[in-house]
Every structure is written in structure tokens, then in C-alpha cells.
């Protein structure tokens, strides 16, 4: 499949990796928030953290990077981002690093056929995908000896109530691509984790409740993968739906830190061995990446997509030597490092309205 010049092999030849929920603490860990279809801002975030060079190639060495989900919706470069992240994953592995991507609520929604936040440009991108995917299948079917590819549109209605005729082809294309067992879901989204533990940090798009931990983090990851691969029907598992879902919860990501249920968070973290903090996306933080509940909740969604608030890219860095830092492109934070400014002292960020007081160590 060739996307904007990226060539990646078919999924059949690369079996899906078994789901790994727990990772040991790396020397350097970087967390990147919601991307929402904005390729350029996505690249800026990676550049900011020194993970890609001027040619968009991985140069992050053995860094572990976690992208917290919500690649889909609100922007028109979803497929390009998916391919780009896949490319980086492979390059990272070659350097001893890794890039782990999570499911956000928008991934779950799209797989289920909830297209409420899909943009017009996104529909066009999938239109083009469908066009070339079809051509590819035609070519393959002309090549004797190759297995005849299955029709991804199988069973999809020709039209839908509430979908104007001019868009029914685009909608069908998106369904074909993203529904459980669809080619894009299988190839990219089935490799996402839903919950992740790296060292003493827990990563999840929305947030975890005790019942989720009780249910089993590994079990959640396995089941969501099975669902995306088509073995569980159209609807997502129950813990992915509704306001208390792992991908929808906002109890610990409310912009007003005082609204966060810190004691609940403490309880949840206590049930995950070694966990010191929960890192989440999902709720746009207008002031940038910040911590709540004594930095036990770190909120990393800065709404960087043009389809959100076009926020300045920021990433969270957890380094074995220098601890927790926010790398920001916000010029307000002067630092010797030209490329990325650093907001030191994450704990001093007070998420209130008005100017924030931040001590920046020179």
C-alpha cells in the first residue's frame, strides 16, 4: 500500500503482534496526545521530542513513545497519519526504540460506525483509498495463483437514511475500511492497545476505574483487539461505551484540577502494582500539558489538531535522569534548547484560568 510515498507490506505477511500490556521502564519515555487527523501537527509533536529528523525519519534511538489515541476524526489526514505512525513503529524497532499507539474514543466510535465527527476531507481521503484498494484487488484477481481478495463492501447497504446520495459512496467506503475486520481496522487499529503500563506510568485515553482493573487490563486489550478483528460483532465491548468507559472517562482530566476525583484515582492506582501516575488524553487542556492530583494524573491532550483548538504541540517526557518534563513549542518558555522549550517543574503548573506561574529552570 503506497500512501504519500510510503510503502508498507500487506498485513497478511506481518502477523499481528501479540498484545503486550506491561512494559518495563525505559530510559526515555515520551507521551503524545490526541492528533485528530492533522498530519503536520503530528509531525511537529514528534519533531519537538527529537523523535524524527528533517526527513521525517525516526531518530529517537531507543526512546519509547506512547501515542494516546484519537488519530481519527476532526481532520482529513487520518490515513496518512496511520501510515506515518506505522512507518515510525518499524523504524523505531530497528533502533531499539518503540512506538505504541492506543485506541481513543474516536477509534472505537468509527469502528462502530459512529461517524458524527468525520470531516468532509476525511470522507474524500477514504474515497481515494477505496478507489485504489479496488484497483489493487482487480490486479490481484488477474494474477493467477493469488488468493482472490474478498470484497470489503460485502454486506454494506447501498444507501442510508440520513445520508445524502452524494455522500453514500464515501460513507460506504469508510464503513468498509473501518468496521470490525475491515482492511484499515485490521491493519492498523487492531494493533492498538487500549490500556498500557510502562514502568510506573499507566496510559489510557480516558481513564480507568477500579472495575476496569478488576476486569483485567490484559483482558481488555485482548478483547478489544478481537472485536476490531471482527469476532464480536459491530458493537464495542461494554467498557468502551458510555461516559464511564476507559476511552470516555473524564473524571481525572477535567481542566479544572479541583474537579478531579483524586481519591478515586488513588484507589485505582493502588490496584495496579507499581503504578504512580495515570497519563490520559481525551480532554483538551487549553493551558497545555499539566498535572492534577499531585501529578498523579497527567493530562496530555493539547488539542493540537486544526480541527480542535489548533493548540501548540506539547509532549510529555519521562526521563530516567531528568524526571517528568513537558516539552513545549510555546515560545513563552525560553530555554537553551532552541528546538524544544522545557517546562520544568510540572508540579508547579496550576491549571486555573489566567496567566500561569511556571518556574523554568535555566
Amino acid at each position: 500500500f503506497s500512501v504519500s510515498g510510503l510503502f508498507l507490506p500487506q498485513q497478511q505477511q506481518i502477523p499481528q503482534q501479540p498484545v503486550q500490556t506491561h512494559y518495563p521502564s525505559p530510559n526515555r519515555l515520551v507521551a503524545i496526545g490526541d492528533l485528530h487527523g492533522d498530519l503536520e501537527k503530528s509531525k511537529q509533536a514528534f519533531r519537538l521530542a527529537g523523535l524524527i529528523d528533517g526527513s521525517d525519519r525516526w531518530c529517537g534511538g531507543s526512546t519509547t513513545v506512547v501515542q494516546i489515541g484519537d488519530v481519527l476524526d476532526r481532520g482529513g489526514e487520518e490515513l496518512k497519519i496511520l501510515y506515518f505512525l506505522e512507518k515510525l513503529k518499524r523504524e523505531a524497532v530497528k533502533s531499539g526504540g518503540q512506538l505504541i499507539t492506543l485506541n481513543g474514543n474516536h477509534e472505537i466510535m468509527n469502528i462502530e460506525g459512529d461517524f458524527r465527527y468525520v470531516t468532509k476531507k476525511a470522507l474524500e481521503e477514504f474515497d481515494v483509498w477505496a478507489y485504489w484498494y479496488d484497483i489493487g484487488n482487480k490486479m490481484k484477481s488477474l494474477c493467477h495463483g493469488l488468493e482472490i481478495p474478498k470484497n470489503p463492501f460485502h454486506g454494506i447497504p447501498p444507501s442510508f437514511h440520513r445520508v445524502p446520495e452524494e455522500f453514500s459512496h464515501s460513507i460506504r467506503a469508510r464503513i468498509a475500511a473501518l468496521r470490525p475486520d475491515g482492511p484499515i481496522s485490521r491493519r492498523f487499529l487492531a494493533n492498538n492497545l487500549t490500556v498500557l503500563v510502562v514502568g510506573d506510568s499507566v496510559f489510557v485515553h480516558g481513564g480507568l476505574l477500579e472495575k476496569h482493573v478488576d476486569y483485567g487490563l490484559q483482558r481488555i486489550n485482548d478483547e478489544v483487539r478481537d472485536w476490531i478483528n471482527g469476532s464480536m460483532g459491530q458493537r464495542a465491548p461494554e467498557y468502551c461505551r458510555g461516559r464511564n468507559a476507559v476511552v470516555w472517562l473524564r473524571k481525572f482530566s477535567d481542566e479544572f484540577a479541583k474537579n478531579c476525583d483524586c481519591s478515586l484515582l488513588e484507589h485505582v492506582l493502588a490496584t495496579i502494582p507499581g503504578a504512580k501516575r495515570m497519563i490520559m488524553g481525551h480532554t483538551i487542556q487549553e493551558i497545555g500539558i499539566n498535572g492534577a492530583c499531585d501529578n498523579r494524573a497527567i493530562r496530555i491532550d493539547v488539542g493540537m489538531s486544526k480541527g480542535c483548538i489548533n493548540g501548540l504541540p506539547e509532549v510529555l517526557e519521562i526521563d530516567r535522569n531528568s524526571g517528568l518534563r513537558v516539552l513545549t513549542s510555546n515560545p513563552m518558555y525560553q530555554n537553551k534548547n532552541q528546538y524544544a522549550q522545557t517546562k520544568e517543574g510540572l508540579g508547579l503548573l496550576i491549571p486555573e484560568r489566567g496567566p500561569k506561574q511556571v518556574e523554568v529552570k535555566a
Binding site: 503506497s2 504519500s4 458524527r116 481515494v128 489493487g136 442510508f160
Partner: protein
């Protein structure tokens, strides 16, 4: 390096190459570009196997692979020349990421396909299968919110 790995590796190199090409070819395919190219070629293991023979030069092996009946239909038709060129390029490629030096023939093939909608027609047999009644599933979706707005009736002008 397995075929899969070599195509994997081509990812970055092709991208790097593409960035230095004049923007036109890729700009026009700003959205997803072709399904064909390396992926297809990876799957043409049969052709590659057909041609593989240690005693032959790489060139000769590539020529032999082209003779495989499995790619005969693709070599005919409106874009057969471009297909052959691209396929040959890939087979003969000795780049570290095999095929990453074949941007031009690949783009030529894509351009040809865009200009010739019936370049690679469906297999006749497959057509017959497709015409069987496909069961339509109960499929519930939520359409984009902005669909509603695009359907709002325009206010009628007052006379």
C-alpha cells in the same frame, strides 16, 4: 531479507526519495496513492519464484519472472507496459530497501491507471460471483453532524 521485510524497509526510503522528486506526481496523489506497486509485487512471489535461479544473472531472472503465466494478464491491456516496467524495476532492484529506487516507474503505472479506468478489468469469473445476491446486513451508523446542515432547505426568496 524476506520479501515482506524488504518491502517494509522500502517504506522510509521511498518516502525520502519522493520528497526530493518534483512535487507534481505526489501532489496530485495527495490522498492515498496506489495499492499496486510493491505490495502487489510482494505477493507475486510465484512470479519471483518462477524466475529465481542462482545460475542466472539478476537481469535474466527478472526476465524469466515476467514470463510467468501468473502475471500474463497484467502485462496485457492498457497499462501493461507500465506494469512490466515497474515490475522489472522492482525485481532488479538492489537497493537496500528493494524497490525504493523505483519511484518513477511506479508513478508512471499509477498515472496510467488513473487515465485508463479499465486498465485492469475485473476477472470475468469473479464478476459472475459478484452478481449473486449479497445479503445486506442490518447496519446502523451515525452520519457526520454536518450532514444535517448541508441538507437544510434554503429560505425561499420573498416576492
Amino acid at each position: 531479507m524476506g520479501q515482506a521485510q524488504s518491502a517494509v524497509a522500502a517504506a522510509a526510503a521511498i518516502n525520502d526519495q519522493a520528497r526530493t522528486q518534483p512535487s507534481s506526481s505526489f501532489a496530485s496523489m495527495d490522498s492515498i496513492i496506489a495499492v499496486c506497486n510493491i505490495i502487489i509485487f510482494c505477493l507475486f512471489t510465484e512470479a519471483a519464484a518462477y524466475g529465481s535461479d542462482e545460475n542466472l544473472s539478476l537481469d535474466a531472472q527478472a526476465q524469466k519472472a515476467l514470463d510467468c503465466p501468473c502475471v500474463a494478464e497484467l502485462r496485457n491491456g492498457a497499462c501493461g507496459t507500465q506494469f512490466t516496467e515497474a515490475f522489472l524495476c522492482f525485481l532488479k532492484s538492489t537497493a537496500e530497501e528493494k524497490g525504493s529506487d523505483c519511484v518513477h516507474p511506479f508513478v508512471a503505472l499509477q498515472t496510467c491507471i488513473k487515465g485508463n479506468p479499465d486498465a485492469f478489468p475485473k476477472n470475468i469469473i469473479e464478476d459472475k460471483e459478484v452478481k449473486k445476491e449479497e445479503p445486506i446486513q442490518e447496519y446502523k451508523i451515525y452520519p457526520p453532524i454536518w450532514f444535517k446542515e448541508s441538507r437544510k432547505p434554503k429560505p425561499k426568496p420573498k416576492l
